[in-house]
């Protein structure tokens, strides 16, 4: 695809910039160099969402779409709420696209992820659900995904530059259509905070003081669950971002920084200050169980993705959901607080390469991808409460519930946005026998010396083959 326009820009002037989705003007004092933008682009970050959203490109409709016929879709959306939401979108697409017959194959989320490599090399469906970031670029560079630059040309006017960068492979081609994203933040119940006269903490000391107070009030201050292994990475990410900044996160995820770095030690030290406030027996709890502690007013706060709202819908009621609110992770008093960084993973749809039906279905598959890029479709999808935010510019914000609207705002305020540890780093490091295990090991005795653990992490990283 050659050089994209933003690569040519030596420097972007700082100033104010308007943020789509929110209709707000934000002060922008980012001093982005070409290198920075390249890094962001290469990193699949949403950060450029803020930095570069001014640039709208001319729309060229060159995509070869087809109506009628058939196509197939492989989905990992196996939880009840998103599964039904996608099925509804598919039904709507079928009637909108001249009766295209869509075969929807839903696979258990974890299984789908575990088998993705053999799935994509075997006989996959035409289109599949996946994640942006390193995880998308990995399969793109292995030649297991079809570039969809033509689809992107048709829909890119509906996306900000940040999203455009998030779906680019290492070769500069576009490989995915982003359909949703969600921020990680500290969730709480408004009624519980009102009942005890708690105020939302903005700095580390207030945060810890609030934890102490909650404990004396008989609450679990911070709900936490790590039987699944990945939730702990969310806390690691945010502490690392607050203490060491976005660039260090990038360096750590890509192996340029060492795990033995004292900056990592600092993260573990800081983390140990709040682990005493965690749910008892958290290593044996699933995230749903910890979310239930929040629903049932047993716990005060919970650092998780916006998808925690799904559990409020499933375990609680609409009234419980109305009480759900959140705040960004408090500042820790470092120079990187100003980045307001957070994890906001983007979920995408991609086209496979080896689907046996792709040659005949490619037009329908592309039509489906374009359909998913419509704001109206995305708002319909998220109207069912899947705990994520639409990505399209023309998504009707008046249809957002207050929680989604606030989530969109908190992301737009962030100057640096990361995906999530397991989307930003290589999967063999982030998996159950890597990072997940290391963090569980750390959490078993958080206050002990982490030098040995960090050494193990580095030697494990060093043992991984070339990618």
């Amino acid at each position: 695809m050659g050089k994209s326009p933003e690569e040519e820009l030596p420097r972007r002037p700082s100033g104010r910039i308007s943020v789509p989705h929110t209709g707000m003007d934000l002060p922008l004092d980012l001093d982005l160099t070409r290198r920075d933008i390249l890094k962001i682009a290469g990193y699949g970050s949403l950060a450029a969402f803020i930095a570069a959203c001014g640039g709208t490109t001319t729309t060229t409709t060159t995509s070869v779409t087809a109506t009628g016929g058939k196509m197939s879709l492989g989905s990992y959306l196996s939880d009840a709420v998103p599964k039904k939401a996608l099925a509804d979108v598919v039904t709507a697409f079928q009637s909108a696209n001249g009766g295209t017959k869509v075969t929807l194959n839903t696979v258990d989320h974890g299984t789908f992820q575990n088998q993705i490599t053999s799935y994509l090399q075997g006989t996959p469906e035409d289109v599949f659900t996946w994640f942006s970031g390193h995880r998308m670029r990995f399969f793109a560079s292995k030649g297991l995904a079809t570039p969809i630059d033509d689809v992107w040309n048709a829909v890119k006017s509906n996306y900000t530059e940040g999203f455009a960068n998030s779906v680019k492979g290492d070769d500069g081609h576009v490989y995915a259509v982003p359909t949703s994203y969600y921020p990680w933040a500290v969730f709480y119940r408004k009624d519980v905070f009102a009942q005890h006269n708690y105020t939302v903490p903005t700095n580390w000391d207030d945060f810890k003081a609030l934890c102490t107070k909650m404990k004396t009030d008989g609450l679990i201050p911070i709900a936490f669950a790590d039987k699944d292994g990945w939730p702990a990475m969310g806390t690691f990410d945010i502490l690392n971002l607050r203490l060491n900044g976005y660039d260090f996160h990038v360096a750590l995820c890509t192996g340029q920084a060492k795990w033995t770095d004292s900056k990592v030690t600092a993260v573990f030290k800081k983390w140990a200050e709040i682990t005493p406030y965690y749910s008892p027996a958290f290593a044996g709890l699933t995230w749903q169980q910890a979310a239930d502690q929040l629903v049932r007013k047993q716990a005060g706060m919970y650092l998780l993705g916006l998808f925690v709202s799904q559990e409020f819908l499933a375990a609680g009621s609409q009234a419980d959901l109305a009480q759900l609110d959140f705040f960004p992770f408090p500042h820790v008093g470092s120079q990187y607080d100003a980045e307001e960084a957070l994890d906001a993973p983007i979920d995408v749809f991609m086209m496979t390469k080896k689907s046996p039906t792709l040659s005949s279905d490619s037009g329908q598959a592309k039509a489906f991808m374009e359909y998913l890029a419509k704001g109206s479709v995305q708002t319909q999808y998220f109207a069912e409460g899947t705990g994520a935010i639409p990505t399209a510019n023309d998504a009707d914000q008046s249809k957002y519930d207050p929680l989604t609207l606030k989530a969109a705002q908190i992301v737009s305020k962030a100057k640096k946005i990361t995906q999530f540890f397991d989307r930003d780093s290589r999967p063999d490091f982030a998996g159950p026998n890597g990072m997940q295990q290391f963090l569980l090991k750390y959490l078993a005795s958080p206050s002990s010396d982490t030098t040995g653990l960090q050494g193990q992490m580095q030697s494990f990283w060093d043992s991984l083959g070339p990618e």
């Binding site: 992820q113 490599t117 008892p280 958290f282 044996g284 569980l440 078993a444």
Partner: protein
């Protein structure tokens, strides 16, 4: 088959068992038809054996010398020699030796607790007590369930806050929650309780079948000679049951080497539940796709498994010969 054959000159339609002259003046014991039948009867199992067993074994060994990531073809650049093994055995992969240890703890637990308990139940149920059929069914019921279902059932018992055990003993209310599934010091034993729940019934049924076939006159003779129940079992019944005992030992060993399902259901085999089979899966079948490295672990598990397999085969052949 009779090995003695009379040498006779080639007949137009030779009988089975006769030597048949071939074109170059050699003789065959079998007719052409016999040879075809034999070729089919040996060839099909051999083909299956090669395709389903030897080919995977050889390719595992081959892949274990590479750092192949499961995508595309294996290229010469993928070859790393014995680096995977070196890394594993030197303890560089921090989960390898714990996994080996957990497999052996699994083996020891089943051998010294679960299997003897199953045998004990079998002996009790063999004594024509009232309701023996009901007890048999009750103990055997878990065997009918798949290990995945067993895993879910026991997860519900062990779950720290919602689980039956912690709630039944009031540990949730009093705030002394025991983290059966998340504490790496105890979760292996929690899983072993679940595994035993199934294993005991399995062993019981096999042993019970064996006990039924023991000649009752042996017991009566021992009783007449003044032996008590314990003596009868250990001195008379147990030695007679030698073939069944071998089967029990082999099954117990196999169960502990292939242990996978329960630990994987509970937390994908991390945090104290590492097992060799899970390390293989997590490395080579998961998203991480370290197929070469996972194959090296698989080869090590194969070597460990060869011990009991050889022991079993030599025992089985000895039994056949005698």
């Amino acid at each position: 088959m009779a090995r003695t054959t009379s040498i006779s000159p080639a007949a137009p339609a030779p009988e089975a068992g006769e030597l048949v002259a071939t074109g170059r003046g050699r003789y065959h014991v079998l007719t052409r038809y016999d040879r075809r039948v034999l070729a089919v009867m040996v060839g099909i199992p051999l083909l299956l054996e090669v395709v389903l067993i030897w080919w995977p074994v050889v390719s595992s060994i081959y892949l274990s010398l590479t750092n192949w990531d499961g995508v595309g073809d294996v290229t010469p650049q993928n070859f790393v020699g014995l680096k995977n093994y070196q890394f594993l055995l030197s303890g560089g992969y921090f989960q390898f030796w714990p996994a080996v240890a957990h497999n052996f703890i699994w083996l020891a637990w089943l051998t010294f607790l679960a299997t003897p308990l199953g045998i004990f139940f079998a002996v009790l149920l063999d004594r024509d007590m009232r309701g023996t059929r009901i007890y048999q069914s009750v103990f055997y019921l878990p065997v009918v369930l798949s290990l995945v279902v067993v895993g879910f059932i026991w997860e519900l018992q062990f779950s720290p806050t919602d689980g039956f055990i912690n709630n039944a003993f009031g540990l949730v209310k009093s705030g002394n929650i025991i983290d059966w599934l998340g504490n790496p010091r105890i979760n292996l034993f929690a899983v072993l309780v679940a595994a035993s729940w199934r294993h005991v019934g399995y062993m019981m049924v096999i042993y019970l079948a064996g006990l039924k076939s023991v000649d009752p006159t042996l017991r009566e003779a021992a009783k007449v000679d003044g032996a008590n129940e314990v003596q009868i079992f250990f001195r008379v019944v147990f030695p007679v049951m030698a073939p069944i005992n071998t089967v029990i030992v082999v099954l117990t060993t196999i169960e502990s080497l292939r242990a996978f399902d329960l630990a994987f259901i509970i937390n994908q085999g991390k945090n104290g539940l590492e097992l060799l089979s899970i390390l293989i899966t997590n490395n080579s079948i998961s998203e991480s796709t370290r197929v070469g490295f996972g194959s090296a672990i698989a080869v090590i598990l194969l070597v460990i498994s060869l011990g009991p397999i050889i022991a079993f085969l030599s025992q089985a052949m000895r039994t056949v010969r005698s």
